[in-house]
């Protein structure tokens, strides 16, 4: 702790930070532009000037940039000094000389850091009378709008894009006062994290293009804390609605999870909520065989007979449905008749993963832990495409090891350019073993390309080198052995290594190999971080809840004698062979699907009930780490769209079952889970319950300055209606209620007096860049046992052998396209690749295929005609097919396939 003096007042501060950081921390307003807690200080905007004094006798002082001065013990500064105030005022006046007069049509208006800083620095009258500079804008793709006129040259965009996210197609061009931030030519921004430019840019140069389609100001949106539904990472988001449609997703800071940033899939995938393919009304199969809308009463009444006897019902849950809904279904149909809705492979892998994380001497790390790792070994995952935000975290880890040098030289870590000059090209150890090239290859120390069993063999070999108790690998070739030595050496030296693996290749032995490596690395006092990537928002949740896979359901259907099938938010055709699902569905007289999107399974249903997305419902998801996080309903839908468990409650009540009679709100469900499922003992700590109040008030979803309250619905009826109640959460749907700083799990708006932009975040953090006030939200359900019971996995596979007539077919994941939901957003669809089959050069040569040739790929789950893509990074004898793309959803991978022309 150090003591600093600001305008005569004494403050206790952390001397490892800079003055700006510490002043903001203490609630002192200093205007700034280029400083960002995640990206450090560079001192380029000159806005955060303050006066520094030598000692108590110094009355003259000198102007310094507060972001570039350490908060050393005894520092005396003045923020309110007349000269400093005048300096800051003139700096912003210069910045504003060329700023266009377009706030009314600028999407940043009302949440603009430049607006805030202009007011804060006291510039209010324009004296510059000359012509304004203008710039030609660029087309940067369907996600980001570019309006270069508004730029104030703070360099934050390139610092994020190049230095933080390692993108290489956005840069600064030109010289002196002709500086231009953009690409070398028009085109889609290639980096997967480009959407963060919207939040990083302090003004309106980069704005959300998808918001532009239905533009609404920050103050007019109804917002609620949400969890991203597009992969297993569980980033915290803020969903925002106006006029009954979700308008945008903003990042919601969680120090342990996503921090300041989101990936583009998470930020822009929201439009499925507004999609045409949504199910918004109950539907029933009519006598003519068509599925048509019907009233809720009629449908529930018809379901009476189907739901009469529980013994005739089979329930299939889903990894994209909340823990609560899955639990309700499991409770109703019983453990032996409930299936998690995971595919065979996923189910097997997830069970394994949970077992390992609970019992092995390892620990599942949060993204923060991953950012702080100093050695990385990835086994079989293309992390950028399967868990994008984890990839961004991994990108930060390459700095950790070389940062020791920075510390040794006593350079403060926030001094970004000094740090960069010291680091030069130094990178921490980073090893990737994958089937084909990944987007993280640019930062890797070494990469290894092989078929999935061979990847596992490398893992087993590394584990054996680290600890001789781990099984050895037979017949390992020399090169791989050498690589294993290198990897083992680097991991051994590291203080905080992380092993990353996952389910994306559908290979069990990789999961085992990763566990062996991590366990072999663990010491008495330190457990190695082992992170398994899972595909969907609640895969871990259903895994913890437990139950058979879809395959088990299909195989067991004959013995169960069931005639009613309830499916919650799941498209079975994506997870099991089409023919098997077809014959499975034939066993049932009643197929009740509760879902929000139309898909092949809903088309086979006899009754469909409209479930809610993250926009219309509340619930809990468990992420890859085992962190349970609550998401809250964003808006009140026009139609009767409800949580799946509510539909089940209503339908079963109607049918005469009293299981769920007591379930009036979410708290009741959460309470039941809490009591009855051991794995979810802590689930009620994920967020405050619906009885939570501050000063007797519920929390407001709308901002304090929400507009149009008496006019939005006045065209329907001029007499105002009572706003809807929310029994499930401590939120109101209006601006009534508490609108100050809410507890961490309930933060739905980053705003503070004088801070209208997202930079208001500093006011919500306990310490800047640290946890939110009151601790980061979410609760870890999987903590490693004190005493572990682990014996090394010994199922070392044999080396992959290429077959003559068949190819081992692996799924290739794409950030845009592989996710079932985000692809429904038109702009994500635009960015998704077209279906293809990736073939090794050698194999293509043997088969005499050229790039672009149409070939027929025959898998056990079907036959597809796909154009050939040739690559030298995929091993011979293996082919790749993009997972989940429209048209390829029903391809069940991995598996063996044949190709013919």
């Amino acid at each position: 702790m150090a003591t600093i003096y600001v305008d005569g007042k004494t403050y206790e501060v952390n001397p490892n930070n800079n003055l700006l950081h510490e002043c903001l921390q203490k609630g002192i307003d200093i205007p700034y532009f280029c400083w960002h807690p995640a990206m450090g200080s560079v001192g380029s905007c000159r806005q955060c000037a303050v006066k520094q004094y030598k000692d108590e006798n110094d009355t003259t002082g000198q102007i310094v940039m507060s972001c570039m001065v350490p908060a050393a013990d005894g520092t005396r500064i003045s923020v309110d000094d007349e000269e400093a105030v005048e300096f800051r005022r003139s700096v912003i006046e210069w910045l504003m000389t060329n700023h266009p007069h377009d706030c009314p049509i600028c999407d940043e208006g009302g949440e603009c850091h430049l607006q805030d800083m202009t007011v804060m620095a006291g510039h209010n009258y324009r004296r510059f009378r000359f012509k304004k500079k203008t710039y030609i804008n660029q087309y940067l793709g369907p996600l980001i709008n570019h309006e270069m006129n508004r730029c104030i040259q703070c360099y934050r965009c390139v610092r994020f894009y190049k230095d933080y996210a390692h993108g290489d197609d956005l840069d600064v061009f030109g010289a002196h006062n002709h500086i231009y931030f953009g690409r070398h030519e028009d085109g889609v921004l290639e980096n997967e994290f480009s959407g963060n430019l919207v939040e990083v840019c302090p003004t309106g140069v980069f704005t959300d293009k998808t918001l532009k389609e239905h533009y609404t100001r920050k103050w007019d949106m109804t917002t609620a804390p949400s969890i991203c539904t597009h992969c297993g990472v569980g980033c915290n988001t803020i969903g925002a609605e106006r006029y009954g449609s979700v308008r945008r997703i903003l990042n919601r800071y969680n120090g342990q999870v996503n921090g300041y940033f989101l990936c583009d899939r998470g930020r822009y995938g929201y439009d499925y909520v507004n999609s045409e393919d949504r199910i918004r009304t109950p539907m029933m199969r009519q006598e003519n065989g068509e599925l048509e809308s019907a009233s809720k009463e009629l449908v529930l009444n018809t379901l009476k007979e189907a739901l009469k006897s529980k013994k005739n019902i089979i329930g299939i849950g889903s990894p994209r449905a909340s823990v609560e809904s899955n639990y309700a279904l499991k409770k109703f149909v019983g453990s032996d008749r409930y299936y998690t809705g995971l595919s065979d492979t996923e189910s097997k892998l997830v069970d394994k993963i949970i077992g390992i994380l609970k019992n092995a001497p390892v620990r599942s790390p949060s993204l923060k832990d991953i950012r702080e790792s100093d050695a990385v070994f990835i086994l079989g995952e293309d992390v950028t495409n399967t868990a994008p935000m984890m990839a961004l975290a991994l990108r930060q880890s390459i700095r950790q090891e070389p940062l020791k040098l920075v510390d040794m030289l006593k350079i403060p870590r926030w001094h970004e350019y000094a740090v960069q000059d010291t680091l030069q090209q130094r990178k921490g150890p980073f090893f990737i073993a994958s089937v084909t090239g990944t987007k993280l290859d640019d930062i890797a120390t070494r990469t290894y390309r092989a078929e999935s069993d061979d990847i596992a063999r490398l893992g087993f070999a590394v584990a054996h080198i680290l600890n001789k108790d781990a099984p050895a690998v037979k017949k390992l070739n020399k090169e791989v052995k050498q690589l294993a030595e290198v990897i083992a050496g680097a991991l051994k030296k590291a203080e905080r290594p992380v092993i990353v693996s996952g389910t994306s290749l559908g290979n069990e032995v990789i999961v085992h190999a990763a566990a062996n490596v991590a366990a072999a690395l663990s010491k008495e006092d330190r457990r190695t971080n082992l992170s398994y990537i899972v595909p969907e928002a609640n895969t871990m949740g259903v895994g913890l809840l437990g139950g058979g896979s879809i395959g088990d359901a299909i195989r067991g259907v004959k013995d169960k004698k069931a005639d009613t099938l309830i499916i919650f938010e799941n498209d079975l055709y994506r997870r099991a062979n089409k023919s098997n699902v077809d014959s499975f569905l034939k066993h049932f007289k009643h197929i009740i699907v509760v879902d929000y999107m139309q898909h092949t399974t809903t088309q086979r249903a006899t009754a469909v009930l409209p479930a809610g997305t993250f926009g219309e419902t509340d619930g809990t998801f468990v992420n890859y780490e085992g962190r349970a996080q609550r998401y809250f309903q964003v808006y009140y839908p026009e139609q009767e769209i409800k949580e799946s468990w509510r539909w089940l409650r209503d339908a079963t009540l109607q049918a005469g079952h009293n299981d769920f009679k007591e379930w009036q709100n979410l708290d009741a469900v959460v309470g039941a889970i809490n009591r009855e499922v051991a794995a979810f003992r802590k689930i009620n700590e994920a967020a405050p319950n619906s009885r939570f109040r501050i000063a007797g008030l519920k929390m407001s979803r709308a901002s304090a300055r929400y507009s149009g309250r008496t006019s939005i619905r006045s065209h329907e009826n001029v007499h105002e209606q009572k706003p809807p109640d929310d029994p499930d959460s401590p939120f109101t749907f209006t601006m009534e209620g508490y609108s100050g700083i809410k507890p961490p799990g309930l933060t739905n708006l980053f705003w503070a007096p004088r801070w209208n932009s997202v930079q208001a975040l500093t006011r919500f953090q306990e310490e800047i860049d640290g946890p939110l006030r009151g601790g980061d939200p979410g609760v870890r359900l999987i903590e490693p046992a004190q005493r572990f019971s682990f014996s090394y996995f010994t199922d070392v596979p044999a080396a992959f052998e290429k077959r003559n007539d068949e190819f081992y077919t692996v799924p290739l994941h794409h950030i845009f396209g592989s996710d079932e939901l985000s692809i429904k957003a038109p702009w994500i669809g635009e960015l998704a690749p077209k279906p293809y089959v990736l073939l090794n050069k050698e194999d293509a040569g043997v088969k005499e295929y050229n790039e672009g040739d149409e070939v027929e790929v025959q898998l056990s789950s079907g036959t597809w005609k796909l154009p050939v893509k040739i690559s030298d990074s995929i091993p011979a004898g293996v082919i790749g097919i993009p997972a989940g793309l429209p048209g390829l959803e029903t391809a069940i991978l991995p598996g063996w396939s044949t190709i013919s022309k």
């Binding site: 007069h101 009302g110 012509k131 710039y135 507009s707």
Partner: protein, 171 residues
């Protein structure tokens, strides 16, 4: 008794005073041009809608009686998709006009808006939009905004320099 007679006397005298009651509606009072009455949406000198759907009027409105939604033409010109004022709530404070950065929304000297049916007090854009500039003549926001539009390239607005060439090294 005396006070009673006094009052009667004053009443009698009042018969000879000048009448202030106006025989409305036959006779109409003078309303100054800046009188705050019915709200209209005006057009710019080129006849295009002035409103750019910035939402400032709706946020300034103390009774929250303005609701609108922004939309865009193909060239990026923003305008309100719908614009609704619930006059049964409006208090004619004029804050919306004050907040409007483009002179689009204006209060005019007209108060004859009474309705038998309250629902008719809800005005949509077609009821609000007039074919003129209203009180403020000659202003066209898009000329000053620096935005590129169908018939206005970068640097062609008022007080704008031609676009910067980032490849030039000349001072």
């Amino acid at each position: 008794m005396v006070s009673l007679l006094k009052s009667l006397w004053y009443v009698f005298l009042h018969m000879f005073q000048k009448r202030v009651t106006v025989q409305y509606p036959e006779e109409k009072n003078y309303l100054p041009p800046r009188w705050r009455g019915r709200i209209v949406l005006t057009r710019d000198p080129d006849g295009e809608e002035r409103c750019v759907a910035c939402y400032l009027c709706s946020v300034a409105c103390p009774v929250d009686c303005i609701a609108l939604a922004a939309t865009e033409e193909e060239d990026g010109r923003r305008y309100p998709d719908f614009f609704r004022i619930n006059f049964s709530r409006c208090i004619y404070c004029g804050y919306c006009e004050e907040a409007c950065p483009t002179y689009a929304i204006q209060l005019i000297p007209d108060f004859e808006m009474a309705e038998y049916n309250r629902q008719n007090m809800v005005y949509e854009k077609e009821h609000l939009l007039i074919n003129g500039e209203g009180k403020y003549h000659g202003y066209n926001f898009y000329k000053y905004a620096g935005l590129e539009l169908k018939n206005k390239g970068k640097g062609e607005g008022e007080n704008e320099a031609p676009p910067v060439d980032p490849k030039s090294l000349m001072p």
